[in-house]
Symmetry: C2
Subunit: 355 residues, 2 copies
Amino acid sequence: MPSWKCQQCGFEEDLYSRYYWKCPRCGSPLTLLYSVSGEITGSKNTWRRYSGFLPFIPEKYRGEGLTPVVAEKTGTHSLLFKLDYLNPGGSFKDRGTALAIYYGFKMGFKKCVVDTSGNTGISVTLYSKLYGLDSVIVMPREAPEGKKKAIRQLGGLVIETEGRIGATKTVQDYISEPGYYYVAHLWNHIYIVGHATIAYEVYEDVGVPDYVIAPVGSGGLLLGLVYGFEKLRETGRASKVPRVIAVQGYSVQPVYVAMYGEALHSEPSTLADGIMVSNPPRLAEIVSAIKRTGGEVVLVGNSEIARAHKALWEWGFTVEPTSATVLAAYEKISKKIPENSSVLLVLTGSGLKTL
Amino acid sequence: MPSWKCQQCGFEEDLYSRYYWKCPRCGSPLTLLYSVSGEITGSKNTWRRYSGFLPFIPEKYRGEGLTPVVAEKTGTHSLLFKLDYLNPGGSFKDRGTALAIYYGFKMGFKKCVVDTSGNTGISVTLYSKLYGLDSVIVMPREAPEGKKKAIRQLGGLVIETEGRIGATKTVQDYISEPGYYYVAHLWNHIYIVGHATIAYEVYEDVGVPDYVIAPVGSGGLLLGLVYGFEKLRETGRASKVPRVIAVQGYSVQPVYVAMYGEALHSEPSTLADGIMVSNPPRLAEIVSAIKRTGGEVVLVGNSEIARAHKALWEWGFTVEPTSATVLAAYEKISKKIPENSSVLLVLTGSGLKTL
């Protein structure tokens, strides 16, 4: 039976517990512990195939995951684009949300709430409806209009706040009321084990790459990738874990600062609205994961993001600007990557909703 | 070696020919003939798996096809939703375009042109860029702004015309110039064999359904579905072909008129902008295909489409209004469908681009 554990103070709790995201003793993010058999079995059309890597399988399926990998050769590297913007809610967040909302449903909740820059709001509304939960999405007024419209059309209630920090504050009013499941995607370890499915799919489609480049806001994607590739190694399926290149923008760079001790300033990076998380709860884990893989943090700015965004569209990848940070980062560090390496670039969110 | 044949007058031509869409003798749409082995082999991550059903496999891959199937039980039926709006260009058209643009590239063209209500324009621009072709997309001024923006961002040139009929007229100016590959998706049989991949994927994922409901504009989707399911039967893989329910809107209903001899008038159906094709070149083939399967034509209008569109979003299917015609049609005829039948509803286009 899976259980929650605080890696800081040792607090433990069963799977279905009111303490599923934050340790009630020391305030650290909790970790979901469960046995990973490493078995991969059954037809390749839902995550049932990856039951051996997941804590539970949701009852309902909406087309999450199993997204394409597209390979492009450059002169020196094999670039592997993971088209995760082709998830049903238009972003990789559906991987975590499909599990996290099912968990809230199993706990008996009828309403859920989340603070988000946008994509998680679409995802949470989509899966909440599926299980009959009402959803309240607290998000910054400046978030792209398309994201708000999508949430409303999916049947969610949008509450607009002053900035991403305002959203984090406002969500507290809901959490303190009884009956609300707080999705807590910046904390909830279920998101990390959900995002890890990217690693299992890539492993099956093209093998374990030498490098992975991923944008980092809360770090859920990066931690999921490292979790997944490490589980593949632990279960004897793979012999290596890719080096992880974490991408942040100059405007909000807590992971860079935590890695290298000081900030690096240049132009703003406001185009990458999806990764402007100034205080990621799992910051120490993110730094540890990057270091374990021998990876690094790369910062990018608006002019680089805009150029990479244009290039991605003209290559046929209809992504949002935040997703273009990975190509911008690749262009900055490609000379440091050894010849003939394979490099996985996770394309995280659809640009169709922000046209 | 595949070849083109006119089923009306017997005209024949090799695969790589300037006569690939319209018979130069009698003006009928041409058919692509090639041997179908029915073999399905290799990993399930690109269409290479379906080489035994396709005339050729494009060199490049952009994530087309292999979309999820989501099952929902109603009281009496098993509804199977094919999430084809999760294609890279946001619609099922990518299936045909991935093959059709590769064909134009192999013919040596450097430029292509198409007249479209929108989705084909996105798809054609996306695949043209991939092979280094310039694309000119001729489309009605009234088409959704999001579709035009997507085409421009992908690097295509949008030419706006008065209505869908204006587009068909304007495209003639380009075709008469040398050097332009006319994609001719309303005629080009390559689209039909491309769309047939839906049938192979559904067959592998959930088996052959009892019914298929598909929106019909030019009829390429419907003809592709029937082609695919008939090839599965011809090659001994399946024992039946589903009954096909063709959906049109009250505003533009040539298939209904051809089937039943007279029009049926009610409210307008302008929300279904993707299927307003008043003169489909393959009309006779469409009628013949529907009749062969024991199928029928169902008409829907704006109030039914709007209701079905809202319901689909709240079920988590982020489709455009045209795609909602299939649910509207199902609701109208569900009482006529025997209990315990499985019903495939093809969800054709993403609604994220028209938020």
